[in-house]
Amino acid sequence: METINQIFDFLTDPANYEGPMGIPTRFYEHFLMSFQSLALGTLIALPVGLYIGHRRRFEFLAISVGNLGRALPSFGIVALVYVFAYDLPGDIGFWPTFIALTLLAIPPIMLNTFVGIKEVDRDTIEAARGMGMTGREILQRIEVPLAAPLILGGIRTAAVQVVATATLGAFTGWGGLGAYIRDGFAVRNFGIVGAGAVMVALFAMTTELLFAGVQRVVSPRLSSQRPRWKGFRSPIGPEGDVVYESAGSGR
């Protein structure tokens, strides 16, 4: 499998670790872009999800955004945003990639937050109201903590999707780890493509494990969800994924 040797050579060649095209720079670019877009996506989606879940109004909005978000091809979003935003100032491809990734991050977070809050047991809320808690206190002290595992699940799904889709950003002229895939593919050097793929996969895997850890720390006693599988909890993939249709909880 000479591709594997090529990958190994590329990753071990010190020359690839310097300069603007070097691995550290592009890794940092990829991290920064992913973190920024995820953070902005969370900032937008979380409050909306909390509001809809708490107030139980515009529920249809959260559900359709969630489901449509899953249906939208991420490549489509990146291309669409590029066509309209390529002329914005800043590095080439920065804004198109950033906006596209933020849009991608919103649906899973909003849907999971909404479902997480909505599925908090009504009696607990009644009891809290009975004790004289205000709406805000209920949200803060009871709803958010109980919904935390599902919310984190949503952020986790969004994070992995953002990290993976950031590779497509390279085609808009932006950098990131996707640049190795783009450049390798263009000159048919599959060692570089493989190296790019391995790095992105590792990045996505660590993101997944990081969030899985946080989720497990937050959720052992809080989550009313039955643990999906005794013993080994698979850390990868859309764990926090919520398949939800308005008719009833599809979970």
């Binding site: 591709t3 066509v83 992995v160 895939i181 048919r188 493989g194 793929a197 895997m205 999906r228 080994f232």
Partner: protein
């Protein structure tokens, strides 16, 4: 100034779309074909894997780690890495797409089987079901809702990923997205994205409908009181 977008021209050039309805149809067909085959093969592979993992718990972690690893490889890279071996062919696209469905399908099948209440299984065994009968007549039917949910997520994800295969010429509706992207031509881009999204929503609805149809018992109708 968007190079390909002449001032004054309507945002979406319907005429452009109207001229090539045959191409649109062909690409939609390719998209459907790729999605269906990928999910079906995904099921054929993940079903035995899930059963094996369900029966032998210790096998589950390695399977999920392996399928998880496949899941995190960016789709474009996976397609590109397959090109030297299987060329710019349907096989390349399919291998890539199938490998993405495995994690979701295996996990949901196992979760579905794991969700079957122990006492129902015990009662069935007590009545005289063999292990095989237990699996096909009790465990799988009861696991069906969760399995179908897995198929839904896998299908919708696959529909999205097919578009990326446009980079190796087998992208279904992704052809229009790539064309629109290369030429900064919104009409083609919107056509590709909206159509594949609509296709995903329709398939999603269809699968929800089949889930209802296939599991009449899961909705408890009015409780009969004596």
């Amino acid at each position: 100034m968007i190079v390909a977008q002449v001032e004054g021209a309507p945002f979406i050039q319907w005429s452009w779309v109207a001229d090539r309805t045959d191409v649109v149809l062909a690409k939609l067909l390719e998209h459907v074909q790729l999605t269906v085959i990928a999910v079906v093969i995904g099921l054929i592979i993940s079903f035995p894997l899930a059963l094996w993992a369900y029966r032998h718990k210790k096998v589950y972690p390695p399977i999920t780690v392996f399928t998880g690893l496949l899941y995190t490889i960016p789709s474009l890279a996976l397609f590109a890495l397959l090109v030297p071996y299987t060329g710019l062919s349907l096989e390349t696209a399919l291998i890539g797409l199938v490998s993405y469905t495995l994690l979701i399908l295996v996990r949901n099948i196992v979760a579905g089987l794991d969700g079957v209440p122990a006492d129902t299984k015990e009662a069935a065994l007590g009545l005289g079901f063999t292990k095989r009968q237990l699996l096909w007549r009790v465990e799988l039917p009861l696991a069906l809702p969760v399995i179908l949910a897995g198929i839904r997520v896998a299908t919708v994800t696959t529909i999205g990923l097919v578009t990326v295969a446009a980079f190796i010429g087998k992208g279904g509706l992704g052809y229009f997205i790539l064309l629109g992207f290369d030429r900064l031509f919104p009409t083609a881009l919107l056509l590709g994205s909206v159509l594949s999204m609509a296709f995903a929503v329709v398939v999603d609805g269809l699968l929800v409908w089949t889930e209802r149809l296939v599991t009449p018992w899961s909705r408890s109708r009015k409780l009969v009181t004596t």
